[in-house]
């Protein structure tokens, strides 16, 4: 069933965690994936099992609405760690009054901050801790950072501010990363950081606050781990199968080995009386894809197209053609092809649907669709749907053929 997974119970993520630690030796990371793939689970495991010498601080930032709250959050996170050594604790105790902060029952709050003053507080805090604890490496695992940036941006807009504190935070953090070799960060979140950045920059500013960070993407489980997880889930829910190997294979195949979907399907199976067979797995997956309340919210993938790809291009008749519409044509084409497709194949397919001559535009859209986890590019540069499950839903939802 779907749940928050304890660090000890995480399956199949050792390799990506190892890769993250190795990357963090030299640079910070933007950690990406579609929602519910398991990013938070990985971060929580890294927090629970830090490698030697590292202070790992996890924070879920979606609750942050202002730059001040962000600084408070860092102070509160650090406080919990720095109290472990007396020297660090003493230093921290001296830092707080300098920042004007107070602690109530262990919760640190800062006084009202005017203008950009939060920036100096942020710098003082990070500079202070990195210099004072220079023998230690600090790794901040910041979950849902895009939400935080959106929230801050909204707060600023409401307050009539013209300058973007959100972008400024990212730029400040970039500068701090450059300054301190013992400071590393992982940014992650449910929505793509590139969308938020584009929104914050309003496509005018050239700020690239994450170009010093390594992109790392997490995908579904490897077959062997998916099998282990499937076995574990079936066993935990006391599900008896007529042919366990076949049921497991079907479960993995039909859920693309994404733990979230595997959990959901197994939960549904656990409520069925009697032995489970492959047909029941298929039926449950299909049920989740077609029932009217759309429990997996697959509709979101379609509805967000105009939001993710706003604006129009001019077609060959000089008529406006929405980018979202071209994106949809591309997805429709890829949904109906069994093999992955080259850029030219994709471009030719949409030319058959709309009067379009700009090949560059198709190339750009394919890249964006890949960034947003609709599609992926293989080693030959060909595109296909990221997830067979999404492809299947897309075909059903668009009525592309009869199932």
């Amino acid at each position: 069933m779907a749940k928050q997974i304890g660090p000890n119970n995480v399956i199949g993520r050792d390799k990506i965690i190892k890769h993250l630690w190795r990357t963090l030796e030299s640079e910070s990371v933007v950690f990406t994936a579609e929602r519910r793939i398991g990013k938070t689970t990985v971060l929580k495991k890294m927090q629970a099992e830090p490698v030697d010498g590292k202070v790992v601080i996890y924070a879920d930032l979606e609750k942050i609405n202002t730059a001040k709250q962000f600084v408070e959050n860092i102070l509160n996170s650090l406080s919990a760690h720095l109290t472990k050594s007396q020297a660090a604790h003493n230093w921290f105790e001296t830092l707080l009054p300098k920042l004007g902060g107070t602690a109530i029952s262990g919760v640190i709050t800062l006084p009202k901050i005017e203008g950009r003053n939060w920036q100096s507080l942020l710098e003082k805090t990070i500079n202070g801790v990195c210099k004072n604890q220079s023998e230690q490496q600090f790794v901040f695992l910041w979950d849902e950072i895009p939400y935080m940036l959106q929230n801050i941006h909204q707060t600023d807009l409401k307050a009539g501010k013209t300058q973007s504190n959100a972008l400024q935070i990212l730029d400040t953090l970039r500068a701090l990363r450059n300054e301190h070799p013992n400071l590393r960060m992982i940014y992650t979140g449910s929505i793509g950081l590139h969308h938020v950045l584009s929104q914050l920059r309003d496509d005018k500013l050239a700020s690239q606050p994450t170009n010093d960070m390594a992109p790392v993407e997490i995908g579904p489980l490897a077959a062997v781990h998916a099998k282990t997880l499937a076995k574990k889930l079936l066993s935990e829910d006391d599900i008896e199968c007529d042919d366990e190997a076949a049921v497991i294979a079907a479960l993995i195949r039909l859920t693309d080995a994404v733990p979230f979907y595997m959990h959901r399907v197994v939960t549904a199976l656990s409520l069925i009386e009697g032995e489970i067979d492959v047909a029941q797995v298929e039926s449950q997956v299909k049920k989740h894809l077609v029932i009217s309340n759309d429990p997996w919210q697959m509709e979101h993938f379609r509805q967000r197209l105009p939001i993710y790809y706003p604006g129009d291009i001019q077609d060959s008749n000089n008529q406006p053609l929405p980018n979202a519409s071209v994106a949809k044509h591309l997805l429709n084409h890829l949904a109906l092809t069994d093999d992955s497709q080259t850029i030219n194949q994709c471009f030719n397919a949409i030319k058959a649907q709309v009067n379009i001559t700009q090949r560059d535009m198709a190339v750009e859209l394919l890249g964006l669709l890949a960034k947003d986890h609709y599609i992926e590019k293989d080693d030959d540069g060909k595109y296909q749907f990221c997830f067979a499950l999404l492809k299947r839903w897309w075909i059903l939802a668009e009525g592309l053929n009869d199932e």
Binding site: M1, A2, I5, G6, E62, P295, Q297
Partner: protein, 688 residues
């Protein structure tokens, strides 16, 4: 006197846990799993967040109460968790309210472990910071334990938290991994179901299905058993009881709470009692339903109101036509109403038909505008409750009490078409057919008892024919047997089914089995003399047709011997008897006919044999007998019957018919009296 337990339709959490267990229906597996998931979660590292979704009164609180109680009975995990059960009416307007409510719930239950003192420190600071302070204190006091947070109406809590509070709450859950959630909601809401929402995919969501008819019956039965209402238990097992529960099912729409309320009416048999009770219920529920409609956006409220007035299921197109709202908007708003549990939809072809999920909403809305007129839903209900004859009788017998109001109901019931009576009967028919197809004849038998015989018999007969037509002879046989064995069925219908069985077994060539079954079937005729004689005679005819003559003779003698009223059987089967003898080899005719006449003579039935002889003339045409056979058949009868005066009319008719066929003209018929001639002539048309 029966012992009444406290059964609460509104606050099941106040009921005795054992009583809740005793009356629990439908969701056993979900409950077992829920307890396991919660136990694993509170005692392990993984944290589960369960959300049960279903409309008001569908048993959410009961399920949650039972799960929490069962969890409290698992000794070895008690130290692993603490329960914070937020009140259903706790108002949450922000993150701080949620933190305060959790603190309050913990202190009430565990006063030694959690304290209000932290509030002194939290006062005067920003509410969100105060919430952090309170929650941090709770987490510190909790130690290694987990909070089992029970939250009813999560949709309202989320609405109060707003986007900001939801994000703060999720961040707390993610950062601490200290909470297991057991929540309920009346409907899905954007805060959990939208991929943009913080809590998307966070909860393990279970939509609670409404009660099926059988679950509902079981629930009421369980309650009756607990209250030691043995008469009611027995009544619920009877066809009438089951049928009445079906009527309630149409009113309650699968809602647990309403069954508990409505079950009181089950044994009400007087018209005034029933009308009064239903109008009273409608009156009580009106403010509740009014409030529900008022809480909707105007366009949705208008659609619900329209469906209340309409009374049935309607397509988007027809709703749009009548309401002057664009089809697209109607479709969208109905989709929203469906998510909220106000309407149900069913697809027929390309069109979806929408109707109210809770029929009682219609009743209540009608109550508002009743102005003394009979309420349509009650009229429809009465149509199921009482047969037309019973209603007429009731009105006469209760005449002293009948007032204009009740008379209005009686008139309306008699004037209306089938209302939901048709739906119930259609549902039953489908269930019967499904049971038979799934070889669950035992279940089918019970269902057949519920349906009015006319409806049921035609359904079964059509099903039997259908199966035979498709070559599923064994299935057809089972259906016809079901008719024969149905206690409540008219015997003539059973005999019709036996005749069909003859056809069906004939296709399999299993006549012995047919005859054995008919012998067995004598038990289904009851004590009625005619029925018994009919069957005995029918068996004798079958034996004459399909078994050696000596056995057939014994059977026919037996029929005359044991049959106490042979007149009707003879009228029906007399000609068939002769037809069967005719089909035997012509060398047996002399001896058999001689024996037959003597048998009839012995029981003073020769005159009836004479009539049968007249009636059997049509066989010549049916069997396309050769002239030689006809002549031989006639001569044997003339020889053997000559000395029996009572047989003379039959013999004359047979002779005239034979001569007519041989001569090729109808002159010989003129020798017959007119009345006999008129009988014989049509039987010869087409004979050569």
């Amino acid at each position: 006197m029966s012992k009444r337990n406290f059964i609460s339709a509104y606050t099941p959490s106040n009921m005795e846990p054992q009583l809740r267990e005793d009356i629990f229906v439908q969701r056993h597996k979900l409950l077992d799993k829920t307890v396991k998931w919660l136990a694993d979660s509170v005692s392990g590292d993984d944290k589960t967040h369960l959300l049960f979704i279903g409309p008001r009164g569908c048993g959410k609180t009961n399920l949650v109460s039972m799960a929490e109680h069962r969890l409290s009975q698992i000794d070895d995990i008690q130290e692993a968790y603490r329960v914070a059960w937020l009140g259903e009416d706790d108002v949450v307007t922000g993150f701080i309210d949620l933190a305060l409510a959790i603190l309050k719930a913990l202190i009430e239950r565990y006063p030694d472990e959690f304290k209000y003192e932290i509030l002194n420190q939290a006062r005067g600071i920003d509410p969100d910071d105060a919430a952090d302070v309170i929650l941090k204190d709770i987490v510190n006091r909790l130690g290694d334990r987990t909070i089992l947070l029970v939250l009813e109406n999560l949709d309202l809590v989320f609405r109060g938290l707003q986007d900001d509070g939801q994000k703060k709450w999720r961040a707390f859950l993610q950062e601490t991994m200290k909470v297991t959630t057991l929540a309920t909601s009346q409907q899905l809401f954007a805060g959990i179901s939208s991929r943009d929402a913080a809590f998307f995919g966070f909860f393990d969501i279970h939509h609670l299905e409404p009660l099926t008819f059988e679950d509902a019956r079981l629930l009421i039965r369980n309650i009756a058993e607990q209250n030691q209402q043995n008469d009611l238990v027995e009544f619920l097992d009877s066809p009438t009881g089951r049928y009445r529960v079906r009527a309630l099912h149409h009113l309650a729409g699968g809602n647990h709470r309403l069954y508990i309320e409505l079950s009181e009416f089950l044994t009400v048999d007087s018209l005034d009692g029933l009308v009064e009770a239903l109008e009273g219920l409608a009156d009580e529920l009106t403010p509740f339903f009014q409030e529900r409609i008022r809480s909707l956006p105007p366009q949705q409220a208008k659609l619900v109101q329209w469906l209340c007035d309409y009374g049935g299921a309607a397509s988007v197109k027809s709703i749009a036509h009548d309401t002057f709202i664009q089809e697209r908007s109607v479709s969208k708003q109905l989709g929203e109403l469906k998510k909220k549990g106000y309407v149900l939809s069913e697809k027929r072809g390309k069109e979806a038909y929408f109707e109210l999920a809770e029929p009682l909403m219609r009743l209540s809305m009608e109550t508002k505008n009743q102005r003394g007129k009979p309420l349509r839903l009650i009229v429809s209900f009465l149509k199921v409750w009482f047969s037309e004859e019973a209603l007429s009788e009731k009105c006469q017998s209760e005449n002293t009490f009948i007032n204009r109001h009740l008379a209005g109901y009686q008139k309306a019931v008699l004037a209306m078409d089938d209302g939901f009576l048709k739906d119930i009967n259609d549902d039953l028919r489908v269930e019967i057919v499904n049971c038979i197809k799934n070889k669950r004849l035992d279940l089918a038998q019970g269902l057949v008892d519920e349906l009015p015989e006319s409806v049921c018999f035609s359904t079964l007969l059509a099903l039997g024919y259908n199966l035979l037509r498709k070559g599923q002879v064994k299935g057809g046989i089972e259906v016809f047997k079901l008719i024969v064995e149905q206690k409540s069925f008219n015997f003539s219908n059973k005999m019709m089914a036996l005749a069909e069985l003859e056809q069906a077994y004939g296709e399999l060539g299993e006549y012995d089995k047919l005859i054995d079954y008919c012998v067995e079937a004598t038990q289904y005729g009851g004590d009625n003399k005619v029925n018994k004689s009919l069957l005995l005679f029918f068996i004798a005819v079958l034996k004459l047709k399909y078994q050696p003559l000596n056995e057939a003779k014994i059977a026919l003698s037996n029929a005359f011997e044991r049959g106490e009223d042979m007149l009707i059987p003879y009228v029906i089967y007399g000609s068939k008897l002769l037809h069967a003898i005719l089909n035997h080899h012509n060398e047996t005719w002399t001896e058999t006919i001689k024996w037959l006449i003597l048998l009839h003579y012995k029981y003073n039935f020769v005159a009836w044999l004479s009539s049968s002889l007249v009636g059997s003339i049509g066989i010549f045409k049916d069997e396309q007998l050769s002239h030689a056979s006809i002549k031989k058949w006639n001569s044997v009868w003339q020889e053997q019957g000559a000395e029996y005066a009572s047989l003379s009319v039959g013999l004359q008719a047979l002779q005239a018919a034979t001569d007519t066929i041989i001569d090729g003209n109808d002159k010989p018929l003129f020798k017959l009296p007119k009345e006999v001639r008129e009988l014989v002539r049509p039987m010869l048309i087409g004979s050569s």
